[in-house]
């Protein structure tokens, strides 16, 4: 089994070296960058499987990196990693193409699991991101005409469990469904989050600085 190649972008070098040492055993760390420009070049040539990207960075932040590199290395998956609580930043990186968001306080084991999950094409929702999503899609002040603009009851239920701190496996057990089904629900939510044109979503993110 080939090892997953990982690239790290974070302007906090101390944190970066910590993450690197945590992931070094299980993954091929192709490289790291401290700023957006260096990262964009590297990723385009190295084509890593997974990029761990900080939401906040000088020179545009994670959103910018993802938009820049996703064109040039379409197979690369992005996982946002941040201390930020600001909803608009998190929603922005997700909409730019990140397949998940975890906070920097995540345990090394969970981080490794998240990297694998993202590599397999699944979405990674931390409780906080699930909370953001529930909040964003809770606003129904206008009739929604697209299926993309609302969560199905099942998706909402799954999001609630994740927000409560349940892992995908635990959600599956509680709802008597398979983990694959949970993953497909979460993937659907991710797609809605990325593709929904509901202007409320962006307005919500702008209104709400912090949860």
């Amino acid at each position: 089994m080939t090892r997953i190649s990982v690239y790290l972008i974070d302007d906090h070098r101390l944190f970066l070296s910590g993450v690197r040492s945590e992931l070094d055993a299980a993954f091929d760390i192709l490289g790291e960058a401290y700023d957006v420009d260096a990262a964009a070049e590297d990723i385009a040539s190295l084509k890593p499987d997974v990029v761990l990207v900080d939401v906040h960075m000088p020179g545009g932040g994670g959103e910018h990196v993802i938009r820049e590199t996703l064109r040039r290395s379409p197979a690369t998956r992005f996982l946002a990693l941040s201390v930020s609580d600001a909803a608009e930043d998190v929603i922005a990186v997700i909409r730019a193409g990140a397949r998940g968001y975890v906070t920097k306080t995540i345990s090394p084991a969970d981080l490794a699991a998240a990297v694998r999950r993202v590599h397999e094409g699944d979405a990674v929702f931390s409780p906080r991101l699930a909370g953001f999503v529930l909040d964003a899609f809770a606003l129904v002040s206008e009739p929604v005409d697209s299926e993309l603009d609302q969560l199905s009851p099942r998706e909402r239920e799954v999001m609630r469990f994740i927000a409560r701190g349940y892992s995908y496996k635990e959600v599956a057990a509680r709802l008597h469904i398979s983990v694959k089904t949970v993953e497909s629900h979460v993937g659907a939510v991710l797609r809605k989050l990325q593709l929904s044109s509901r202007h409320e979503l962006t307005r919500w993110a702008a209104d709400r600085r912090i949860v």
């Binding site: 529930l134 927000a163 409560r164 349940y166």
Partner: protein, 426 residues
């Protein structure tokens, strides 16, 4: 006449290829051969160093060897006496060249502006002359000073933006960047002519009575305007700087009391869990400070839970993650919910053995619901004695008193989740 001075400046003019500046350009086009010849033969250069206005007097002084101050006084007297001084000055300026040692870079726009102003001035002067000839004239005593003052003002506006190399972009600042002495002189002229007109008209009402006042006010504005403007600017600058300094020192004080203290404490700590606890509390506190409360001065369910989490984290060295969806102002029922949630979180911190407690609260139209979950040892709820203070009193009866309910889901080895729900009272 100083022959050495004459020769010097004369030769300098021949050596340096003269590039016509503003006034010269205009005249050069009107009567190119004659005037060009004239300016070259005059060899008059405005002084770059010895200048009050544009260096005409200084230049004439250098050219003729006469003390510039005397020339200036003569000009001022001429101005005050008949206004002729202005004409002489303007003529000398038009027929002179720019200072030789430091050729100034001039902008085309300035040149064209100057041309415009002179053209307009000439037209206005022509109209005035026609009006005078036709008898539509306020009288020489009023008319000429007014015309001259207007010309002076136009010169101020035009010369200002090229007065120095670094012309300010702000048009107002540009006007006030005019040589102070020139400005004072122009302003003074306005005031004097205003007074003069007042005396002439004998305080009569009507347009001729208002005009002098306007002129005088204009003059005063010219004199004091820049000063007031600069004063206001300075005050604003100082205020900005003071606010900045205050913010900086406030930030420094805050970081010192919080982050630096914690970092020092962490360095002295050997216990890893204590270290993590310190870091966690500091992180939460710093984040709250950076992002600020969502709506300051308002007691909200989410802020109360965050505060609770921070306290429990500190007291029990455990991570508490709060996720809130929707929010609600604190009322009696919400306060009960917060208290019960606190109790459940404390129980998890004390008894579960887990290193993380997840708190999720959701407020919808009908109810506020909180979940407190840990992945710790769990227990069998049926085996907990009814009287046990924690769950029975603090959680269940508290919720029931406020029309809510508590549900405890746990099994040994499965972790614990407490669901607390209360109806919204509105």
């Amino acid at each position: 006449m100083n022959s050495a001075g004459l020769r010097d400046t004369g030769y300098a003019n021949i050596r340096v290829n003269p590039r016509p500046s503003g006034g010269e350009a205009l005249i050069a086009r009107a009567a190119a051969p004659v005037v060009n010849d004239l300016t070259t033969r005059l060899g008059l250069r405005r002084s770059a160093t010895n200048r009050v206005v544009v260096g005409v007097a200084g230049g004439v002084g250098e050219r003729t060897g006469i003390e510039p101050t005397i020339i200036r006084v003569a000009l001022v007297v001429l101005c005050l006496a008949s206004g002729l001084g202005f004409v002489v000055y303007a003529l000398a300026w038009a027929l002179s060249r720019g200072p030789s040692p430091a050729p100034q870079t001039r902008m085309r726009t300035t040149d064209s502006q100057l041309r415009q102003v002179i053209a307009v001035s000439s037209i206005v002067a022509g109209i005035l002359l026609v009006a005078r000839a036709a008898g539509l004239w306020v009288g020489d005593a009023v008319g000429w000073p007014l015309a001259l003052a207007a010309f002076g003002a136009s010169v101020i506006w035009v010369r200002s933006d090229r007065s120095e190399a670094q012309a300010p972009l702000d048009p107002l600042a540009a006007v006030f960047a005019v040589q102070p002495a020139f400005r004072l002189a122009a302003g003074g002229l306005f005031v004097v002519s205003g007074m003069f007109l007042v005396l002439q008209s004998g305080y009569s009402a009507g347009p001729t009575g208002v005009l002098p006042v306007v002129v005088a006010v204009l003059g005063l504005t010219l004199i004091f305007g820049p000063w007031l403007y600069r004063l206001a600017q300075q005050l604003a600058d100082e205020r900005r700087e003071r606010i900045r300094t205050e913010e900086r020192s406030e930030m420094a004080a805050h970081l010192h009391d919080s982050v630096l203290q914690t970092l020092a404490l962490i360095q002295r700590t050997t216990d890893v869990s204590e270290m993590a606890g310190l870091a966690r509390v500091q992180e939460r506190e710093l984040r709250a400070w950076l992002f600020g409360a969502p709506r300051p001065g308002l007691d909200l369910l989410s802020t109360a839970l965050e505060a609770m989490a921070s306290k429990v984290e500190w007291q029990h060295r455990i991570a508490v993650e709060v996720v809130a969806v929707g929010d609600e102002e604190m009322g009696e029922a919400i306060a009960a919910l917060v208290d019960a949630t606190t109790e459940a979180t404390l129980n998890a911190a004390k008894h579960s053995g887990a290193d993380l407690v997840s708190v999720f609260v959701e407020v919808d139209e009908s109810a506020a619901t909180a979940y407190v979950r840990d992945k710790g040892c769990g227990f069998d709820p049926r085996l907990v004695p009814e009287q046990r203070g924690g769950i029975a009193e603090s959680i269940r009866s508290r919720m029931e008193r406020h029309g809510g309910r508590a549900e405890i889901m746990s099994a040994p080895g499965e972790g614990t989740e407490v669901k607390l729900q209360i109806a919204r009272t509105r």
